[in-house]
Symmetry: C2
Subunit: 160 residues, 2 copies
């Protein structure tokens, strides 16, 4: 892995287990980055690819809570849902994730936020599934575009 | 894998991914086996090793619900908690699982019940974690005794 500019999103396929690891740095304090992940009114402003409208069905971001949201593009709805295993402010969210277009696929996701000097934050997000085929199909689906564009909009939201 | 007697519990470490797969057959219809996993008053009667008293803190077994229970042995409490990603009666439960003695360890668990001829049921339970070291430590922890003894008590409960 080479060194990268601060705002470059790294998306890495783990060599040993069927997991994707995303790392990204933000020019904002950890509490603010955390809140952008837990407050549904903020989440819908940045998550997903450009040109996609997000609408929250429910988003009860606490340990033992659950969520569902939809992305709307060209009149087509794409649903996502899961439950929150643990929400530990301002550092950790462990949740499940299903894209309803593939209802039997479930990922276990872990978001870790670390404080960096200068009021900055490093985000590490992992997504674990039960097969390398499923993980590699997820990587090949164009998810990287949605992740990178979403984090660019999150940069703007955090700066606002 | 060799053929086994109907009530033998098989516990297999997947060679490719950090997952444990448990299979077991029961002399009872699927609906009854499913209910023994969703009704907390039944769950506490069979789950875990012999000599362990189980007590439910909360057990909201529905899609988006959560649970916590404790096992009590010799005055010592062992807590377990997680959330229910999907509960699809009478065939599927997908949930997360943490043993509170190792609070950063999270497993993604999937229970599948299949109908067999003669009113019998095949159970397949998988548990996925993010490292082979974690999976192998779980297997070496003596979990197999708790699983086998629990299913023997479940046999008795289903026959009652």
């Amino acid at each position: 892995m080479t060194s990268t500019s601060a705002r470059e999103t790294q998306i890495v396929a783990d060599p040993d287990v069927p997991l994707v690891r995303i790392t990204r740095e933000f020019d904002a304090p950890r509490e603010k980055v955390f809140r952008a992940h837990t407050d549904p009114e903020l989440v819908v402003q940045w998550q997903g690819p450009n040109g996609m409208e997000a609408r929250v069905d429910h988003y009860d971001c606490r340990t033992g809570g659950s969520y569902r949201y939809v992305h709307v593009q060209d009149g087509q709805e794409y649903g996502f849902h899961g439950c929150f295993h643990e929400v530990r402010s301002p550092e950790l969210i462990v949740q499940t994730f299903t894209f309803e277009g593939f209802p039997d696929g479930v990922a276990l996701e872990r978001l870790v936020l670390e404080e960096l000097p200068g009021g900055r934050t490093r985000l590490t997000a992992t997504s674990l599934v039960d097969s390398f085929e499923g993980r590699d199909a997820f990587l090949a689906s164009g998810m990287d575009t949605g992740v990178r564009e979403g984090y660019q909009r999150l940069d703007a939201l955090l700066a606002g």
